[in-house]
């Protein structure tokens, strides 16, 4: 599904990713953890095609295509979804119109007929229930005046509507209380399938109690320095990152 090889990327001349490797197969859930500033959000942005970042080396293959060659909207249409750490407000644009346009573009790309208004509404009803999103939120302007928790739930709702093959969750758990965390996680779990893969970026093991990953990777100084299963997350929770930093320093020395 996704193969990242020796990926290097920088922003404003500062190198953030320094040779990152990752292989994700269909249906897998990969958690990416790591201390602040290790490059987690940069990885998400680079994969989604944000232009502020410059890729200086390596390759990314997504469903047998060169991901880095595609403009951002093309990546989205090909099935790559990013749940934003800070969802953006678009005043005056209703969530519904926004999603209708997005769903329309993605269906067009797949060669599907546009959904009828009736089918679209049915889909909205079904998917918004997944994250217990109030019907009213769907009619409000995109993320405008939403609470932190509502914004994150809205991201998962959008993901459910757009049915991506690869979803990247960038610190979706940040700023969530325990109930919202449960709702968001249940929403994500409902969308897990043998065809759909997830990259879950998080600081905290807590999220991984709900969304149980197949693999856990530690990103440090722009590289994946340790990989394991969900037990690795528990170990990190207990011991922090210092021992990883030491190991890495020793390996480097």
């Amino acid at each position: 599904m996704l193969t990242i090889k020796n990926l290097e990327a920088s922003i404003e001349g500062k190198q953030i990713l320094k040779g990152l490797n990752l292989e994700i197969k269909p249906g897998e859930v990969h958690a990416i953890m790591g201390p602040n500033g290790s490059g987690k959000s940069t990885l998400a942005s680079v994969l989604a095609g944000r232009e502020d970042y410059e890729v200086t080396g390596g390759s990314v293959t997504f469903n047998d295509q060169d991901l880095l060659e595609m403009p951002a909207e093309e990546r989205a249409r090909e099935g790559l979804f990013l749940a934003f750490q800070y969802p953006v407000e678009i005043p005056g644009v209703s969530n519904m119109n926004f999603l209708k346009a997005a769903v329309g573009e993605i269906r067009k790309h797949k060669g599907l007929e546009p959904l009828s208004a009736k089918d679209f509404l049915k889909l909205v009803k079904e998917k918004s229930a997944l994250v217990e999103l109030d019907g009213q939120l769907a009619n409000r302007a995109v993320n405008e005046g939403f609470s932190g928790g509502e914004k994150k739930r809205n991201e998962i709702f959008q993901m459910a509507m757009l049915e991506p093959s690869l979803a990247i969750l960038d610190e979706t758990d940040s700023g969530l209380d325990i109930d919202a965390l449960r709702i968001v996680s249940e929403g994500v779990n409902a969308l897990r399938s043998p065809e759909r893969s997830f990259v879950v970026i998080t600081h905290y093991q807590r999220l991984l109690d709900y969304i149980v990953p197949d693999f856990v990777h530690v990103l440090y100084k722009g590289k994946i320095v340790k990989s394991g299963t969900k037990e690795l997350a528990l170990e990190l929770e207990e011991r922090g990152y210092d021992w990883i930093k030491e190991e890495t320093a020793q390996a480097g020395a």
Binding site: A48, G49, R50, E51, D52, P71, A72, E73, R75, A76, R77, F81, L82, F84, P87, V88, E89, I90, P91, G92, V93, N97, F98, L99, A101, A102, E105, I106, H109, A141, Q158, L162
Partner: protein
């Protein structure tokens, strides 16, 4: 796409409505003097009082100098190089639209305003003005049954001289300003509308203006009178063909709303803005003013301005009647080298008068976009209320947005609120849209239309759709 590509693309875009209709014109020689005014008046078979009115206006105009206070710069028009009268030669009265000159029909089709469609789909009566003379007026009979008069100004002068004489120049006097004086001297046509007491006009009244003859000044005169307890919604929309020389447009619009009457006046304006260097394009120097004469009267201006090289326009309300209400909703888009200085004046005279101003400026390219507004609360205006919101959206690093709010309060009971924001279109917003599968043009269209939604919502349905498209076309790929 890099921002350079995008700038290239937008600046190389041709004006979509830049075409010319080949209709023979009956045109006056260039220049302005008393003889020309006499010629105009004679051509239009006007009564003596109107000729005298025009000549007095001309005398007033000659003593005036062009105003310089607006935040715009341009080469002043040569008033002696303009022809002040042009009329399509075929002037026979039409019984149906089928009798219309095929060339004219083609023009209307290109503009997407075929009269049949307007009639069928929207129930809109269209008074189509081309080069100063109305060529088709529809729905007249239906309106006639209600006693509503909706016709060209020329026709009103012939058929309803008493009404015209009573109201013409009462809201915008000839002495008001340089361009109003000029218009009063040389106006050739326009629209006239009278809604009798107690009548709610059942359809949107619509006039499409169009400048066609190269080098012809266009001086429209519009007068809308809503008698007591009546209601009318009036639409005005414009597009003009591409020209190399600047075309001067100095219209005057006067609205009079009597006791318990309401006038809703909506404009979508898309005149040729000039090329990317700012060459050519229409000069739009308009005086628009409404008088809320009676108690509980209301006047609401809504405008979407995307065209013209220079716009100089302040639709205003004189709130004379107690409890009268004035509203101004505006979206002004400037791109390339366009300059707009637009806003409103709300003059509170009556007690418990209320006004609302919502202005949304959008600047792109190297354009300059200014909001200029006055809220004046007179001593007599007990408990007056005003709310103003002036937002500016910047699409590039090379454009300018300016706000000049003037507030004059002479009565302590007044409550005046003013809010202003300036923001740059967010790359975060665009990226968010891209990440959901929308392309950049869709993203900008969506963001801009969302930004302007409060104003677009005030437009009648058929205009709102047109306006949304216009915003998208005017700003496609203009983020820099």
């Amino acid at each position: 796409m890099t921002s350079d590509d995008i700038i290239d693309e937008i600046t190389n875009r041709e004006y979509e409505f830049g075409f010319t209709t080949n209709i023979e014109s009956d045109k006056a020689p260039a220049g302005l003097n008393e003889d020309i005014i006499r010629l105009i008046s004679a051509k239009k078979n006007e009564p003596e009082w109107l000729l005298q009115w025009r000549l007095e206006a001309f005398a007033i105009w000659q003593k005036m100098t062009e105003p310089n206070w607006a935040h715009v710069s341009y080469v002043k028009p040569d008033f002696q190089a303009i022809s002040y009268y042009a009329a399509p030669k075929k002037k026979a009265k039409l019984n149906s639209l089928d009798e219309l000159d095929p060339e004219l029909r083609k023009t209307m089709d290109k503009l997407g305003i075929s009269l049949e469609e307007q009639k069928r789909l929207h129930g809109v009566a269209v008074d189509f003005v081309m080069d100063s003379v109305s060529v088709a007026t529809s729905f007249k009979e239906k309106l006639g049954e209600l006693g509503i008069i909706f016709c060209s100004m020329s026709e009103a002068i012939q058929e309803h001289p008493d009404l015209v004489k009573k109201y013409l120049g009462t809201v915008v006097p000839r002495t008001d300003n340089f361009y109003a004086a000029l218009n009063s001297a040389v106006f050739t046509d326009g629209s006239f509308c009278y809604i009798p007491k107690g009548v709610k006009c059942p359809m949107e009244l619509s006039t499409y203006f169009r400048i066609n003859e190269g080098g012809t000044g266009q001086f429209e005169r519009t007068l809308v009178v809503a008698d007591e307890e009546s209601y009318v919604s009036y639409l005005e929309g414009c597009t003009a063909p591409q020209r190399d020389e600047n075309q001067l447009h100095a219209a005057v619009v006067e609205l009079i709303s009597m006791r318990d009457a309401e006038i809703k006046y909506s404009t979508v304006q898309n005149w040729y803005p000039g090329d990317k260097e700012g060459k050519g394009g229409v000069f739009n120097f308009v005086t628009k003013r409404g008088l809320c004469d009676g108690d509980r009267s209301k006047i609401s201006w809504t405008q979407v301005e995307t065209g013209s090289a220079i716009t100089w326009k302040y639709p205003s309300c004189i709130l004379k009647g107690d409890h009268s209400v004035g509203e101004f909703y505006s979206v002004a888009v400037t791109n390339n080298m366009q300059q707009a200085d637009t806003g409103t004046k709300m003059l509170h005279i009556g007690r418990n008068t209320k006004s609302t101003i919502i202005s949304k400026g959008i600047s792109a390219g190297n354009s300059q976009n200014s909001y200029r507004g006055l809220v004046h609360i007179n001593k007599s205006a007990q408990n007056a209320r005003n709310f103003s919101q002036c937002d500016s959206l910047l699409m590039s690093d090379t454009c300018g947005a300016h706000t000049f709010p003037y507030i004059e309060i002479k009565n302590k009971t007044a409550k005046v609120e003013h809010e202003a924001t300036t923001s740059k279109i967010g790359e975060d917003q665009i990226f968010y849209c891209l990440q959901r599968g929308l392309d950049e043009e869709q993203a900008i269209s969506m963001i801009v239309n969302g930004y302007a939604k409060e104003v677009l919502n005030k437009l009648p349905m058929e205009f709102a759709v047109e306006a949304q498209k216009l915003l998208a076309i005017s700003l496609e790929g203009s983020v820099g």
